[in-house]
């Protein structure tokens, strides 16, 4: 509770301390995407290499209803969540039965398919030009015409999602996911229908990733093809592991570090991923629960066993 209050304070004050709301909004949307990943890995033990699929589907879905139907923002975000959840449930049903690395490869393969579908389907996605001209409607009569106001809308949504994830992790459902992570065979033998829980977890993860995509689409009022590409999926994995996939705090921390480093280093040196790679190796080698494990012994233990 104290930690969540501290998080709310940090998120509320960030644009006042460093005024860079576009980057800070990006941290939150990317953080939400990283949380969608760590729900699957940290709780259920499934490594998804395809989170950008759900992110991209959410972004395109939100953009389409905003452009074509002039939908209100809450409705567009709801559509993004449902689209992400639906696609994730379908992919999860196919991929989560695969043992070990096969399941990982399937999420990867579906991501590649989704990318080419988006690339080809120009009428809907804009192809490699991206999808432009997304309106940003008022919300409850308040115009969101500046970046700081939009940041606060995103902040409220992401913090609500964050609280929901904390709640889910402490729920009977979260307990079953950890049972599956720890010992799938035993979970089955005590009567849990494991496949259903996996699909449900994928749907929740897809809803979060879709929501992240919808919020991202409104940030620059533009959906680039990168929203659904494999690089984004890889970045999600890297950011979440960097921060610590054992908790949503770790995912958000990793996303913040990743976003700030890529923003600042890419201006300095075009080969910045090399530096980042070194940082990542150090963290993975010496802080196996991610950086958040330095603050939180519980998530460190979950990662180490």
């Amino acid at each position: 509770m104290i930690r969540f209050a501290a998080l709310v304070a940090v998120v509320a004050l960030a644009p006042l301390v460093v005024h860079y709301p576009e980057l800070e909004t990006q941290i939150l949307t990317f953080g939400l995407l990283a949380m969608s990943f760590s729900l699957l890995l940290g709780e259920m033990g499934f490594l998804s290499f395809g989170q950008a699929t759900f992110n991209g589907v959410g972004a395109y879905a939100a953009a389409r209803v905003l452009i074509d139907a002039h939908a209100a923002l809450p409705l567009a975000l709801l559509v993004a969540m449902l689209a992400g959840a639906g696609v994730a449930a379908a992919i999860g049903a196919l991929a989560s039965g695969g043992r070990g690395v096969y399941g990982v490869m399937l999420t990867f393969a579906f991501n590649e398919m989704a990318y080419y579908a988006a690339f080809q389907w120009r009428d809907v996605t804009g192809g490699d030009n991206g999808l432009r001209g997304i309106p940003r409607p008022d919300i409850f009569g308040i115009a969101l015409d500046d970046a700081t106001r939009y940041y606060y809308v995103v902040a409220v949504v992401v913090l609500l999602a964050f609280a929901a994830v904390l709640r889910l992790n402490a729920s009977p459902f979260g307990a079953v996911l950890r049972a599956i992570r720890e010992n799938e065979e035993r979970a089955r033998s005590i009567g849990f229908r494991v496949a259903r829980f996996k699909v449900a977890a994928f749907a929740v993860s897809g809803a979060l990733a879709g929501l992240a995509g919808g919020l991202y689409a409104e940030l620059y009022r533009f959906v680039p093809l990168q929203a659904i590409d494999l690089d984004t999926s890889t970045n999600v994995v890297v950011a979440a592991l960097l921060g610590g996939a054992g908790s949503p705090y770790g995912a958000l921390l990793g996303a913040a570090i990743f976003t700030v480093l890529s923003d600042s280093l890419s201006h300095v040196w075009s080969h910045w991923p090399l530096i980042f790679g070194i940082v990542f190796c150090v963290v993975v080698l010496f802080f196996r629960g991610g950086l958040w494990s330095v603050f939180d012994r519980r998530s460190a233990r979950a990662a180490h066993g």
């Binding site: 929901a164 709640r167 889910l168 402490a170 729920s171 009977p172 459902f173 979260g174 307990a175 079953v176 950890r178 049972a179 720890e182 010992n183 065979e185 035993r186 979970a187 089955r188 033998s189 005590i190 009567g191 849990f192 229908r193 494991v194 829980f197 449900a200 929740v204 233990r301 979950a302 066993g305």
Partner: protein, 258 residues
């Protein structure tokens, strides 16, 4: 099927197999087994290594599907049901190797097993620790197994004997009707094995139990019925006294050990 002595015919069979066969390639690990497990009995299955005991067990629990033949539980055909379904019907099994949720706490291990019998497992908004009946069931099982003081420890850090107890406690927390116990004393020190056996003797008063066990003195003491398997078939079945006196069994199995 050669029968020796009187099998207890007083109660109805709760679990019944007919002409059960499981082939792995050309090899029939279980080759036409008719088994009747009567309600309230402790039914031991013994036999030399490779006799097909564990394969039979996996056919009873639903982990394996038979090549042919049928399994019925409480008069319902469960041949096509998987392990999860059978668990929900009341067939609880424990495993030969210790099979717990290693990084969760001892309490969480049994709490999950109790939770599996409820409808709340998809509730993502409730607190898991606020489920009164589930918690009470978990606590009662830990109390019964003398593990209550270990409730907050990480399961994988318990001593071997306590992990076996926890393994049993998990199975019991699902509130089974029939217990399938696969060599529960395997790998335990003699003291721990004795303690576990006493525990099983106590459970036999409340549950129907099918037990695979190599420890003969133990089996002879606890079992009400013994089925002796050899090469995938039933060699003999009867009370411990009848089995002890059976020449074919002595030749195939007991003679080498006695």
């Amino acid at each position: 099927m050669p029968r020796t002595g009187d099998t207890m015919a007083a109660t109805a069979p709760i679990l019944r197999t007919r002409a059960l066969v499981k082939r792995f390639g050309a090899h029939a690990a279980v080759d036409g087994v008719d088994l009747d497990v009567r309600e309230g009995t402790l039914h031991a299955i013994i036999g030399p290594n490779g006799a097909g005991k564990t394969t039979l067990f996996n056919l009873l629990s639903g982990e394996l599907r038979p090549t042919s033949g049928s399994v019925a539980f409480r008069d319902a055909d469960v041949t096509g049901r998987d392990m999860t379904d059978r668990s929900r019907l009341g067939i609880g099994r424990s495993f030969q190797r210790t099979n717990v949720f290693p990084k969760l706490t001892v309490f969480e291990n049994v709490r999950l097993a109790a939770q599996s019998r409820t409808r709340v497992s998809f509730a993502a908004w409730r607190g898991a620790s606020s489920l009164g009946a589930v918690n009470a069931r978990g606590e009662a099982v830990l109390e019964e197994f003398g593990l209550f003081r270990e409730r907050d420890r990480i399961a994988g850090e318990l001593a071997g004997g306590d992990q076996r107890l926890l393994e049993l406690a998990i199975t019991l927390a699902t509130d089974p009707v029939l217990l399938l116990l696969d060599e529960p004393s395997q790998g335990l020190s003699p003291d721990d094995a004795r303690a576990l056996i006493d525990r099983i003797g106590g459970l036999a008063e409340r549950y129907t139990i099918v037990l695979i066990e190599h420890n003969m003195p133990l089996v002879m003491r606890l079992a009400t019925t013994i089925t002796v398997m050899s090469f995938g078939t039933v060699l003999a079945e009867g009370t411990p006294d009848a089995i002890r006196a059976n020449e074919a069994v002595r030749a195939a199995y007991l003679g080498k050990r006695a």
